[in-house]
């Protein structure tokens, strides 16, 4: 009897210890989130309703919620543009990355690891440097520009940099690995026998792709599009380096409000609005992706 009680007690303490463990494991992440996410957000929100004080860079809390309205009235064009550019870039990245990920997952044989390293290789140099490189490549003497001319996509006297095309191309290029990797990992998880089974059940290659491969890779499509769309919508580097005044995105506005005009409240209001807008778009998208509608 005593033995049984001892056993029961031992079981109890060990479940207790086990039930504490998840919280212990969560602790570093929670601390990180509180200091580097929650506190900045709170500061951001509180800054967004301040008004200018006496000195430059000094602001008083006046709970002026009209800051949001003013910011939107002034910058709605760039806002909309950000979402359109990010949307197009995400779609373009999906079109490029899907065949790439598919080939790496199913057709690359022993080259698989080499190709995966190549996909992430651009990360070995800085984001800004790569974007500046694209400016060279697409510039009047760049090989990218010459290739486009040779392909008769653009005329020899036109210029490709400082354009909408260049900004979207830059966004597409810079976020391509974020699209490719999740796609690859979800394609690679597909049991190739399900595709063989589809062929065995009278589906040709295209139908097999539509009915089996694509639906089974949807988790990767969703993850990849989110990982591309979210940073692309908030990006300012590509529009800064590859764009012109008419291709400014919301990131550029926030950047100049903050650093050049030193208008912290407007910058904060725009940042917060951007965050909420992205959150809404993403939520709607995931809702939709959870159903079969996207396929």
């Amino acid at each position: 009897m005593a033995f049984l009680q001892a056993v029961a007690k031992k079981g109890e303490t060990s479940t207790k210890r086990r039930s504490l463990l998840p919280y212990l494991l969560l602790l570093p992440g929670m601390v990180w989130l509180i200091f580097f996410f929650l506190l900045p957000i709170l500061t951001l929100v509180s800054t967004s309703t301040k008004t200018p004080g006496l000195g430059i860079g000094e602001f008083d809390q006046t709970y002026r919620f009209a800051n949001f309205w003013d910011a939107l009235v002034n910058s709605h064009t760039q806002f909309l543009r950000s979402f359109v550019y990010a949307g197009i870039a995400t779609f373009a990245a999906l079109l490029i990355a899907y065949p790439l990920a598919y080939a790496i997952a199913f057709k690359s044989g022993r080259w698989k690891n080499v190709l995966l390293v190549l996909v992430v290789a651009p990360f070995f140099t800085s984001f800004i440097l790569r974007t500046i490189a694209w400016k060279q490549i697409l510039g009047g003497q760049g090989i990218g520009f010459k290739a486009l001319v040779w392909l008769h996509i653009v005329g020899a006297d036109s210029h490709v940099t400082a354009s909408t095309f260049a900004v979207i191309a830059g966004l597409t290029y810079n976020f391509l690995p974020f699209m490719t990797l999740p796609l690859y990992s979800s394609l690679e998880r597909i049991d190739p026998r399900t595709m063989e089974a589809s062929g065995d059940l009278y589906a040709n290659a295209l139908t097999t792709f539509r009915k089996v491969t694509l639906p089974l890779s949807m988790p990767g499509v969703v993850a990849g599009t989110l990982l591309t769309f979210i940073p692309a919508a908030g990006d300012y580097v590509n529009a800064e380096i590859l764009g012109n005044p008419n291709t400014k995105m919301i990131g550029n506005v926030i950047n100049s409000r903050y650093l050049q005009i030193v208008d912290y409240p407007t910058a904060a209001a725009l940042s917060f609005t951007l965050m909420v807008a992205i959150l809404i778009v993403v939520t709607l998208y995931i809702r939709k992706a959870g159903t079969e509608d996207l396929v």
């Binding site: 049991d191 063989e196 089974a197 062929g199 009278y202 040709n204 089974l216």
Partner: protein, 380 residues
């Protein structure tokens, strides 16, 4: 879709079918006719080329040489989705994102069949799982997934159903039950089944015809009883059930019967049942055909005296003896426990005997142990 090959009917004929991967020959010059409507088993140890053979028939692997016909239609290089063939895959390969209903309906929808619901319901009834139609595959047990894999294939009424170790992942009891069900389904719908397995008992209970495959080649083909009674190679003798194989030499060659010297004892072997090529012979007797008697008791037929029982295991319906013979070989004897006499004991001196007609003869130069070790490795 009205395609000549999708609607092809008739016997399946493999001619000189060969598949190599690099310089490794996985399937070696296979010649085989599988009659329409039969339950055919391809039996062999793992790695002998069974799956590769099925994959070539299904169109998932291109043969290196040879041809495949269904009836008069050559389907050797036909695309898989144009063949009158459906496969039950080794691990089922159900579509994880589709409901059970849609899994089964997949082939019908691709062919634009009209009464999908009716046909799917019917086949789900046949496999006795109509209540699972709305579930996803990962919500089913192994046995249920297995039945759905069968349903998904047979709903299309292919000329030929290929089953690649369909019961391999199931536990023994479920496997026995599914063997009976699959056999029943086959008789019910009358399709040609080509069933691949490494389980000889499974092949014996289910198939009309068995082809025993070893290292990419067919060793022997025939009805289960024929293969069991008249094995032509040591591999077949050992792989299908158990055999005692004793080395001997042929002393005289009569019209119906050979006289063979087994370590000094003269025994008779029916001439028709010997595949010895010269005087060197392996004499085979199935363990249940041997009689075991205490030394000195009178007996008849072929006789081998001088054995000593080295092991006894009593297993209810029968008793299994290991008997060490004077030349050092251990022979196996299965005795039915139907005579009310207490089993003999370890160490007893015994005489073995059997009726000459139960003897078969194999080429004496073959490896007497071929095909005997594989069973042990395969048992899960």
């Amino acid at each position: 879709m009205g395609d000549a090959s999708t609607s092809a009917k008739g016997d399946l004929k493999l001619s000189n079918l060969t598949k190599s991967f690099g310089d490794f020959i996985a399937v070696d010059n296979l010649d085989l006719v599988i009659p329409e409507g039969s339950f055919f088993a391809l039996l062999g140890p793992s790695g002998c080329g069974k799956t590769t053979t099925l994959r070539m028939i299904a169109g998932l692997e291109e043969p290196t040489a040879g041809s495949i016909h269904v009836g008069a239609t050559d389907i050797t290089y036909e695309r898989p989705y144009k063949r009158p063939v459906n496969t039950v895959f080794q691990n089922y390969a159900l579509f994880p994102h589709l409901s059970i209903f849609e899994n089964v309906a997949f082939g019908l929808r691709r062919r634009g069949i009209k009464d999908v619901k009716e046909q799917v319901d019917k086949v789900l009834d046949l496999v006795e799982l109509p209540h699972l139609a709305e579930r996803k595959p990962n919500q089913l047990s192994g046995g249920q997934q297995q039945r759905i894999a069968v349903a998904r294939a047979i709903v299309n009424r292919p000329a030929l159903l290929l089953l690649d170790e369909p019961l391999g992942a199931l536990d023994l009891k479920l496997r026995r039950q599914m063997q009976i069900e699959l056999k029943w389904i086959q008789t019910e719908i009358g399709l040609t089944f080509v069933h691949v397995t490494h389980d000889q008992e499974e092949a014996m209970t289910m198939a009309d015809t068995i082809a025993v495959m070893n290292e990419g080649r067919i060793e022997q083909m025939g009805s289960p009883a024929d293969l069991y009674d008249n094995p032509k190679t040591t591999f077949v003798a050992n792989f299908l059930g158990q055999s005692n194989l004793i080395k001997g030499s042929i002393e005289s060659n009569g019209a119906d019967s050979l006289v063979v010297n087994l370590f000094g004892q003269k025994i008779g072997v029916p001439r028709a049942r010997s595949s010895a090529k010269d005087s060197s012979i392996l004499v085979g007797i199935r363990p249940e055909k041997l009689r075991i008697l205490p030394e000195g008791e009178a007996t008849h037929g072929n006789i081998l005296p001088g054995g000593v029982i080295s092991d006894v295991s009593y297993i209810g319906v029968s008793t299994q003896y290991q008997v060490e013979m004077p030349w050092g070989q251990e022979l196996m004897v299965f005795e039915q426990n139907d005579d009310g006499i207490a089993p003999l004991d370890k160490g007893d001196r015994v005489t073995l005997s059997w009726e000459p007609i139960f003897t078969f003869g194999l080429d004496g130069r073959e490896d007497a142990t071929a095909g005997s070790e594989v069973h042990v490795d395969e048992e899960e």
